[in-house]
Symmetry: C2
Amino acid sequence: MSEERKLMVLRAIVQDYVQTSEPVGSKALVDRHHLGVSAATVRNDMAQLEEEGLIHAPHTSAGRVPTDAGYRLFVDRLSHLKPLSAGERRAISQFLQGAVDLDDVVDRTVRLLAGLTRQVAVMQYPSLTRSTVRHIELVPVGAAHLMVILIVNTGRVEQRVVEARSMPGGPEGDELIGRLRASLNEVSAGVPFTAAATELRRLVEDAPTEERPIVEAIVSALGDALVEEREERVVLAGQANLARSGGDFATSVAPILEALEEHVVLLRLLGQLGEDPDAVSVRIGSENPVSGLQTTSLVSMGYGSGLERVASLGVLGPTRMDYPTTMASVRAVARYVSQILDENNNA
Amino acid sequence: MSEERKLMVLRAIVQDYVQTSEPVGSKALVDRHHLGVSAATVRNDMAQLEEEGLIHAPHTSAGRVPTDAGYRLFVDRLSHLKPLSAGERRAISQFLQGAVDLDDVVDRTVRLLAGLTRQVAVMQYPSLTRSTVRHIELVPVGAAHLMVILIVNTGRVEQRVVEARSMPGGPEGDELIGRLRASLNEVSAGVPFTAAATELRRLVEDAPTEERPIVEAIVSALGDALVEEREERVVLAGQANLARSGGDFATSVAPILEALEEHVVLLRLLGQLGEDPDAVSVRIGSENPVSGLQTTSLVSMGYGSGLERVASLGVLGPTRMDYPTTMASVRAVARYVSQILDENNNA
DNA sequence: TCTGGCACTCTCGTCGAACGAGTGCCAAGT
DNA sequence: ACTTGGCACTCGTTCGACGAGAGTGCCAGA
């Protein structure tokens, strides 16, 4: 028995099953793929594959279906990414180029990915955790409030309003605000997020007693913004594709939709990338720790401006999915997004 | 034949059908509701109701089901909002009070509504169209760029980066920026959005020739922000409830999910409120112009700070829904949200 | 080690009958 | 003029049986 042929058979099973969504039998296999052997031989191979836990028969007399392990082997060793056509690449690029701001980039990306793969697209907002402070702005709002605005190097903006009752009015107030703005930016502009937090806290200690309350308030608001933003966001698109995806999902799609609404878990999932940040990561079925998602696969990849992979994006679909194509799409989109973020960043 | 009893029968049918989700027959009706008449009488009434197009029999020998018109009559004349319990009110209030910023208010609101009604919650972002400019801020970014920040009275912030090559560096630049900031705010602070646009445009004309390019760039960026934001956003939650809602939705939930992804149509729907902005608006089944949503009802209501109803929120569910309870929930949430926006606004 | 053949096992769709819920209508009662 | 009980009739639904079809496992031979 040729070990190599066995793998050919597995590959053929995966391909056929993905295409037809029906268990594939020995006869159909030899018809559709020109393996040079007979159905009986294939049957023997199948029996072995089943023993190894790579495929599985829903019931005695039905064809075989790949198991999660089977897909895993297929993805790791039996497939190569199917390159996109030039037209597709151009379309992706142009669609993303049209974005006007970061929100728009994210929005367009998920929609694009969902449309491209006909599955659910998920995208993590560019993380601020590894980002740096670009600028801090203070704006008086009414007499007794101050708006604190934090601008991050990714272009994202966070704002908070703080009370500032102790703030003197008129020119004195303006002078104070100007001074605070200057020192805030001095210690934190260009500084990575985590470092900035401690630097800012030192400012509070150094402040003269009468300015303590207001500096305290501002710094604590900034701290809030960091933490708040650290628990990041995800954006989804293409949920309709779930329902449309026909006979998959033995049970209803409800548990999956539920899981998708738990943004916190999604974020944890997306956060766990493979070692190589430039490779597409695939989490198949039960490899997936989340309860509702054990019949789905997550194909994801990091993206971000510069060398840092700030966040990741991907698609979620039935384990029975076209991995080569999906992986290629995810990779292409991740790269284009990175590129666009780069441009915006250096601009 | 008592006209009044006929309506009682309709009401009973709606109530039973909503509860059991099965067509209701004459026998079941007299058992469950103590109408003082026999099943045969009820049958006669039913025949009439059917003739009037208020109910409908799925097939010859099955119970009756309300039509869209039947629900409409029920909502308009046969039901009153079921008041929430004190505990529920307190829970809503507390949950919303915890919000830290506008995004968080919106996020919490949709999740709350979805949980409360076990349906899909939709919420329009507080519109900027009817809003006023609170403040405009200019922040230099690097040597040749300027970030333009627009702060709106709802607390929302929009930012744009513009090129400013012609901007002089050093103290002169700072002076220029200070002057521009002052005049921008002079003409637009507190001014309603639409008026602000024209005011700003006049600034360009009045600018001295050498400052023209930069003023032009800033104003055009602001104009962009207005238009961009005019095509507003919706936030959804509870899509899983769709799939969970059991036997409803003859077809699959796919078309509904699809429709929900078309944010533009959703916005148009939410935009069409009834005359009375303080009343709950109900759009039932086919009253709904959107193709995918003809088996669903939309219960919505305006909200906003002050007297203005800036935007609206609501829930979407099967036409077979518990209208009194749903309407009460939507109204309660809309009111609390308005209240919270008010507080943030006046603070 | 491969191949053809054959018996065996399942699932799935169809058919028909029994069932039951519910209606429509009629004739009688109030 | 309504209301009521009765009764025949209609149709979906359920259930079991049955046959067809697909696919396997295994064996004996090349």
